[in-house]
């Protein structure tokens, strides 16, 4: 009895072969092409997964659909158009440039330009301020007089004096 049980247990690895992924098509070239295409398409159920990697039921169905259309000899672009007609641009990870996506495509550049403009404006403003603060002759004399008058007081405040 014990040996029988042992034999049965040894058979376990054999059973584990049973569940081969059923998704793999007979034609590996076509499968590769399908995966290549599906990697750039979004699964609508798990939206952060591509159609190629998603395990959602719908993704499986759509992969089957793509496979069948490839077998019919349809071009990649035709298949993409087929999916976009049903699910919208949302299935594309690379959205086309059109009216609704203009902000998406060019917004960041517009923001960059705006940022540069603000930066230049601020820097120009600051330049003006600095020039206004130029010492006049009288100011320089006054400053020198002050510095000479109380060198110890300034030192005790630990202010570095470039002249001493």
């Amino acid at each position: 009895m014990r040996y029988l049980l042992l034999c049965w247990c040894l058979l376990f690895p054999v059973f584990s072969y049973a569940g081969q992924a059923k998704d793999i098509a007979e034609d590996p070239v076509l499968e590769k092409r399908m995966i290549g295409l599906a990697e750039n398409l979004r699964c609508l159920v798990c939206q952060n997964e591509s159609l190629a990697s998603s395990h959602a039921d719908l993704a499986e169905d759509l992969r089957r659909e793509v496979r069948e259309q490839m077998k019919k000899g349809m071009a990649d672009q035709q298949i993409i158009d087929y999916l976009v007609a049903r699910y919208g641009d949302f299935v594309l990870y690379d959205p086309p440039v059109k009216k609704a996506t203009l902000i998406l495509w060019y917004g960041p550049f517009a923001l960059l330009l705006l940022g540069c403009m603000v930066l230049v404006y601020q820097m120009k403003k600051r330049m003006k301020h600095i020039r206004e603060a130029d010492f006049s002759e009288a100011d320089a004399k006054r400053a020198a007089a002050l510095l000479n008058e109380a060198p110890e007081a300034t030192q005790s405040k630990k202010i570095k004096d470039p002249q001493t």
Binding site: L44, V45, Q47, D57, L58, D61, L62, E65, V84, A85, R86, Y87, G88, D89, F90
Partner: protein, 175 residues
């Protein structure tokens, strides 16, 4: 003063964008099918598989197509809304039993009531793909010319029914 006002304005604008943006449901993907003719199909009826149904048969009528399944939890939530609508007899509701076993679909209708004029079964979900179905339940309003006018993704609540779907159906019927 400007140095306070400007950042404040930027903050308010940004908050407004975030408020609207975060309030949107990312699972509601706008359907490209709205305004397009409802895709044609020929599917066996759930109750009598020998008979077929095609949207062609509905020309000249405003109708609703509700995609559901026995395995779908949200479908159970909207079921009473559909039942209430069916009792009012305003619009025919056609059901599409999506990727479901025939017996399971029939059991749901037998146990919880049947709001549908007729149900077709899309066992393999192929017609569902043509209609851009990606999460049942989904409900379509189709006008007299056979054009899809509205798509509800997810369950129909009584509020959506009263505020969006019913006014639209009445408007389409008067055309």
């Amino acid at each position: 003063m400007m140095r306070f006002i400007l950042p404040f304005v930027v903050f308010v604008v940004l908050s407004a964008f975030l408020y609207v943006g975060l309030g949107l449901n990312p699972h509601e993907v706008p359907s490209p099918l709205i305004g397009k003719p409802a895709p044609a199909f020929n599917l066996p009826q759930l109750q009598e598989p020998a008979k077929q149904f095609s949207p062609q048969d509905m020309k000249g009528k405003v109708w609703m197509l509700n995609v559901w399944a026995s395995w779908c939890a949200a479908c159970k939530d909207e079921h009473h809304v559909l039942l209430a609508l069916a009792r009012q007899n305003i619009v025919p509701i056609y059901g599409m039993d999506y990727k479901d076993k025939r017996e399971d679909g029939m059991a749901v209708l037998r146990d919880t009531g049947d709001p549908y004029t007729l149900v077709v079964s899309d066992t393999e979900g192929r017609i569902g793909i043509d209609y851009g179905v990606y999460g049942v339940p989904e409900t379509y309003v189709i006008d007299k010319q056979g054009v899809i006018k509205y798509k509800q993704i997810g369950g129909v609540s009584q509020q959506i029914m009263n505020e969006k779907i019913l006014p639209m159906i009445k408007e389409l019927q008067s055309k």
